[in-house]
Each structure stands twice: as C-alpha cells, then as structure tokens.
Amino acid sequence: MSTEARSPIVVRTIVWAIMAVVLVIYVVPIFWMYSSSMRTNGEIILNPIGLPTRIDFTNFIDAWQMANMGRHFIISIVITLSSTLLVVGSASLAAYGFSRLNFAGRKSLYAFFLLGLILPVQSFLVGLFVLFRSVGLLNSLWAVILPTSAIALPLAVLLIKNYFDSLPSSIEESAEIDGASTFTIYHSIILPIATPIIATVTTFTIINVWNEFMIPFVMIQTTELRPLTTSLYVFSTRHSANYALRLAALAVIASPMFVVYILLQRQIQRGITAGAIKG
C-alpha cells in the first residue's frame, strides 16, 4: 500500500505539464531512431526531422545482413546463458552454505565475498587480461563469461543469503530427522521456496551480461567471436557515414528489449533496483 501526496488541482496541472515535457524528451529519441530507420541516408542528411514517406524495412534487413547480426545474437545468448547459469548455480549453493550450514571460516569467507561489492571492474581488468593472455583464454567466450559471472556473484550471494536467513529453521528440521542429506534439503526444500529471489538474481544477471560492453571490448578482438554490443561498435565505426543503416541496426537490437520490458516490467524493475536497495 503506497501513500500519496494529496495536492490542489493547480499543483496537479503544473506537475502534469512538466511530466509531459519530460515524457517528450524520453520518447522523441526512440521515435526518431525508428522513423529515421525507414528513410534513406540522403533524406536524413537533408532534413533530420522529416518523417518517413513510406513503410520500408530495407534498412533493417540490410543492417541485419551486413552486421551479421544472427551470428552475434547467438554469441550474446550463449554468453548470457552461461554466465547466468554459473551465477545462479554457484551463488545459491554458496548462499545455502553461508546461511544454513556451519563450517570453519564461514564468517570470514562471507566477508571476503562482500568485498567484491565495492571493487570496480577496472581494479582487476589489467591483471585478468594478462592472466587470460598467458593461459590462452583471450579471444574466447570464456574471457567474457567468467568475469561477468564474477562481477555478479557478490551481490547474488548477498541477496540469496539474506533471503535464506529469513526462512525459519523448522523448514529443514523434519527433513533432518528423516535423515535427508544437506544437498537434498538444499535442492528439494530450500531452493523451491527461494524462487522469487532466484528470479531477481536471474533478471539482473541476464540484463547486465547481455548489455556488457567494456569486458568484451577488452577481451575479444576476433570479429567472429564478438557479442552484439561490441560487434555493433565496430559496425557503426565502419559505416559511420550511413546514418540510416546505423539507426536501423540500433532499432533491431533495442526492439526485443522493449518487448521483454513491456511483458516483464515489474520483475525487471525489481531485478535492476535490487542492487541499490541492498542497504
């Protein structure tokens, strides 16, 4: 139940007008991206504000083919799925260990994990690059999967552990009396109850890894192995004079994100803001 700030009608009207102006600032760039994608490059240069004169998908098809997007889509999907599986799998196991079990060094290891929440990516990027270079992992998908997973892990462990901590210990007591092993309790009792927090962790991991730019920018120089983000960077450098083609490529990438956002808006908002509200 949310509270509200009751205000007189004059205030409401002014607020509504300002919000409408802000809305325009948000909608116009996106609208322009789609409308310009249906114009020719010459039309855009001549008059950037004009509207398309016809429904024309040529630029979208050209961008898809010339940027070899099908391939880079699949690479991004492989990277994102692998990272998400690694994060959700290992973080839920670790959170279970930290929250419900007891072993030597439990508290200090957990504190060691939380350290990762404050470390910037740049603190380990140089060392990791040289390390990957010496073991031959540079220019492989692992060079993106592993660091994106490692970055997501501290917050994932923290959120899932906090959730496990809130569950009463009576949950596993009867199973223990029946002689169930800790792993049985983890996967058939604790994990199924934790679905909401697992969904949150999955959401922010998928979005962060899918959108990641700096790590593949540094780690993958092989054209065929680039995920969508950095392949688009190279593509738009190569076609820097063809505005219509470039905007169409952006529209192709943005569209599925908008569809997913419209379908799963609440889940996505909860997932992305979870990091900030951790306290």
């Binding site: 760039p29 322009w32 740049q122 060392g127 952006l250």
Partner: protein, 289 residues
C-alpha cells in the same frame, strides 16, 4: 543451524573459485605489475616506482580527474536530483505508472544503443538536435567537442539513469506513512515545502546511497565516453577509465596501466569509506519514522 561440519565448505567452493580466481587474484596481479618495468607483455625488472611517480607528472591524468569531477557534479544534478524531483512529481499525479515506466525504460538498453543513438542526435550532419534548434534560427553547435563535451555526455547519462533513481526514490517515499503526509497538509505546508522539508528528509538514507552510486559510478564510467566520443583526439572528454583503457590496451603500457588501475581502485574505495563514515552520522538518527 546444523552441527559444525567442515565438509560443508564444499558448498561455497564453486562460487569462491570463480570470484577468487577471476576477480581477487587478478587484483593482486595488477598491484604487482605496477611495480615492474615492462617491454610490452614481457616483465623486465621488479622494484620500480617510476609508474607511480609518473602519475604526478601526467598531464592527461590531471585532465581526466578534472573531467571526472565535472561529470560527477553534472550527474548528481542530472541523474540524482532529477530522479528525486521526478519521484516527487510522480507522487503528485493521480496516474503516474505510465510515466514512470517510460522514464525507467532506457536503463534496460545496452550502452551501445544509447551511446550510438545519442552520437547521432548530437551529430553535426544529419543530427536531430541541431535540426531542432535550427527551427528557431540557432546556428549548429558542436555538441561533442569542447567546451560542451562533458555536459553533453552527462545529459545522456541523465537521460539513462534519472528514471532509475526516480524509481528508487519513489519506492522509498511510498513507505512514508499517510498520517505524516496528511498532517503536513493540515499544517498548511505547500507542495514545495512538504517535498523538501518532509519527504526528502525522510528518505535521507536513500539519498546518501544514491550519492554513493553516482560518485563511485562516475569514476567507473567507461561505455558512454568510449561510444559517444570514440578516439576523442583532443582529450576533451577523457576520464580516468578511458585514460586507463587507452594506456593499457592501445599503447600496451602495462606498468603504467596497472598503476592507473591501482589509483582508480584507491579512489573508489576511499570515496566509499568516507561517505560510509559521514553517511552513517547523517542517517543514523532517522532510521525509524
């Protein structure tokens, strides 16, 4: 809590391996590398402090710091304050859900889409912004060049993150009890006073968290600078993260690149420690309302 059993440590081992080997171990590497002399990827001699003395004389580093501070100052206004005000206005609307959903949307887009789109909007030929100001007869402006570079990049940051911070502020303000809001109206406080003297102070701890995110985020920001400005030959928009990446990956200067990483890490951790100490004092007394 079950009985102590040290075999249970196995549960945390997979996560510990990924996190330790990929994140913590390479940090040690980076610190270690900064004390070596290098010939591209070959370490030559250990025990030099030349990379750290170079930090004091690097003119590009001075420029990067200045730009970083400018960016943080701009984004505190364009992301944080804008988010706060948007949250306050959304609370004064009967139906704000649609507005809030749209303002939040940019953050789900990859930075490559946002950066490339805005690079096109700012462009001197075929750019939307110059065409729009041209309607009222204004001359075309070079948005992504001095002296506007940092402001233009910050505006894109604001466009991307203001809705995110709005969502965070809105969610925390929604927990303010209705009785407090009502009594403010009965006391005759106008919307302006109610917002800044009642609602904002009641979410002071969230304000501190948002300031932490924006300040440390300012020293980590790489994507938008790289995508909007590309090579940026004049260094008009160079910041610590782009300076670091250029030193390390384009000039392949591992020693100095590592020293810059160490510096960046120190700066971020120092800010967190300072704000954490000061922030606790600020938010300490208002945890319950």
């Amino acid at each position: 809590m079950t009985r102590r059993n040290n075999r249970h440590i196995l549960y945390v081992v997979p996560a510990l391996l990924i996190y330790g080997l990929v994140m913590i171990f390479p940090i040690g590497f980076t610190f270690f590398f900064s004390l070596w002399e290098w010939e591209r990827f070959t370490p030559l001699a250990f025990g030099t402090l030349e990379h750290f003395t170079r930090l004091g004389t690097d003119p590009v580093l001075g420029r990067s710091f200045l730009n970083n501070f400018l960016y943080i100052a701009y984004t505190i206004v364009l992301e944080g304050f804008a988010g706060l005000v948007l949250a306050g206005m959304a609370r004064r609307m009967q139906r704000s859900l649609g507005f809030r959903a749209v303002f939040f949307a940019p953050i789900i887009l990859p930075s490559i889409v946002i950066g490339t789109l805005w690079r096109q909007i700012y462009a001197t030929t075929g750019g939307l912004l110059n065409a729009v100001i041209g309607i009222v007869g204004a001359e075309p402006v070079v948005w992504l060049g001095p002296p506007l570079t940092m402001l233009s990049v910050s505006v894109v940051s604001g466009w991307t993150f203001a809705g995110y911070f709005m969502t965070i502020f809105y969610a925390s303000m929604a927990r303010i009890p209705q009785s407090i809001m009502d009594s403010s109206v009965i006391d005759g406080a106008g919307p302006w006073r109610t917002f800044f003297q009642i609602e904002v102070p009641l979410v002071k701890n969230i304000v501190v968290i948002v300031l932490v995110i924006i300040t440390t985020g300012g020293f980590k920001a790489f994507d938008l600078f790289q995508i909007l400005l590309r090579r940026d030959p004049l260094n008009s928009g160079i910041v610590l993260p782009t300076h670091l990446i250029r030193t390390f990956f384009e000039n392949q200067d591992i020693g100095y690149g590592s020293a810059l990483s160490v510096l960046l890490t120190m700066v971020v951790v120092a800010i967190l420690l300072v704000i954490n100490t000061v922030g606790k004092r600020v938010t300490g007394e208002i945890d319950e309302y």
